[in-house]
């Protein structure tokens, strides 16, 4: 257990200290605020922008999608870089098992993704809270933030981190990028609707409706929530299983 925790810890710290993480975070915060900063023009354009829950809902569709896309690239070389730099040989020479190594990489990647996603949403909602020209209490901002972190960011983080770490170690990273780009473009072209949304959406799926509902359609279409959740968690877990089953990855099984 201590070895697994060590792998998780170092993976997490290594990822968090990357300058590219800060770059992607800063870039997406700026883009999100360009889209939905509570300025007079944006308030005139977006009817419900004074509501913190709508702000988070919109952030999930726009900024969070770009952020998830960026994180996918940052995480995609976590296994391959060890092979390239020869680090995997050093790790294999130490008393670490295959499952400890793989789970350490995956869980470290997951905690990293969840952390930076939480920072991303927190920065956005703090700026919103400070700048919104209306009487909005702190709890009104905090409650949708916590809801978003539990109901959306948690499954999204599992999906992004597990697939991005595991799949490029199994298939060519360019094939992974091509498939991911199709998925993200489907997410980008999907239009919000009160009806059931496609289950394969990453940040714009029906899970998002747990945070904010349009006043004209004040009911949750629960049919789409479970498939969306199963898709996000299922893809993450299947990727993990595929990686654990891959024989070539470890010393005794080559």
């Amino acid at each position: 257990m201590r070895k697994l925790l060590s792998v998780i810890y170092y993976e997490y710290i290594m990822q968090l200290k990357r300058i590219a993480t800060l770059g992607v975070l800063a870039c997406t915060v700026v883009l999100t605020l360009l889209d939905s900063f509570p300025s007079a023009k944006n308030l005139a354009r977006l009817e419900f922008l004074l509501q913190p829950s709508y702000f988070i809902y919109r952030t999930l569709s726009f900024g969070a999608l770009i952020f998830a896309f960026g994180l996918m690239f940052l995480l995609s070389n976590r296994m391959t870089i060890d092979r390239k730099t020869g680090m995997d040989q050093l790790i294999m020479a130490s008393p670490v098992t295959k499952s400890q190594y793989i789970l350490g990489k995956l869980i470290g990647g997951f905690i990293y993704t969840f952390t930076v996603f939480s920072i991303f949403l927190t920065i956005n909602i703090l700026i919103f809270y400070i700048c919104v020209p209306a009487d909005v209490s702190f709890s009104e901002c905090l409650i949708p933030l916590i809801k978003a972190l539990i109901t959306n960011i948690l499954p999204i983080s599992i999906f992004i981190s597990f697939t991005s770490v595991a799949l490029p170690a199994i298939v060519d990273v360019r094939l992974f990028y091509a498939l991911a780009s199709v998925l993200f473009i489907l997410n980008a072209v999907s239009v919000d609707s009160s009806d059931k949304m496609p289950f394969y959406l990453v940040t714009s799926g029906d899970l998002k409706k747990l945070i904010w509902l349009h006043p004209k359609f004040p009911y949750i279409n629960t049919d789409g929530i479970l498939p969306n959740l199963i898709f996000l968690l299922g893809c993450g877990l299947i990727s993990t299983a595929l990686l654990l089953l891959r024989r070539k990855i470890w010393r005794n099984e080559q």
Binding site: L65, G70, F73, D172, R174, A178, S181
Partner: protein
Amino acid sequence: MSQVKNELKILGINPILIFSSIVVVFTIIAIFAGEMLNLSLIGFEVIFPFIAAMSIGEWGKIKADDNYDLIAAQGKSLFSWVLYRSATIFATVTLFAIICMVIVFHIRSEMPLPEMIFVYISPAFMLTTLTVMCNLIFTHEHVSTLVCGIIWLLAMLSRSMLRYPVVEYIYPFIRYAGYHDRIWFINKTVLITLSAVIWTGIFAVYCKKNR
């Protein structure tokens, strides 16, 4: 010609397999996707240009190439290396894009083939030019693809920016955004011109430099 052959050898079989699988996916989508999807526009104005940019970012590495120092030390001009490598990859992707276009045209007949090629070329040329620029700047792998990927996704998500007057002339996916009048033709010409200007800049900087 020998340089192109060398680049094709370096590329290997992987891109051919990946692009072939994309052709299969496009064929399946063209057959089974409903009439609500305009595959000719989303496929060739949006998806294939990114595949071209991603391919140049991943297979056309310059500063991130492990042999960069070796090649730079032996060559007189970095530009010819950049040009041959990028052009070879771009031509390979374009060949597969045209195969997909022919298939989609025969199955769905959504728009004429020359128009599909024109719709594809300008965003592909622009995104790949940006990727080449990133390849010349960044020394880490995947960063070029990351930068171009974010620009690509951002452009898709910022269709609302088209409400500003000048944006319609530089927005890369103008046909997909629903512009069918003569603006889209000007837009495509502007994108190609901008990309040509960037290539001229790359030539001016790197024609006599080996690193």
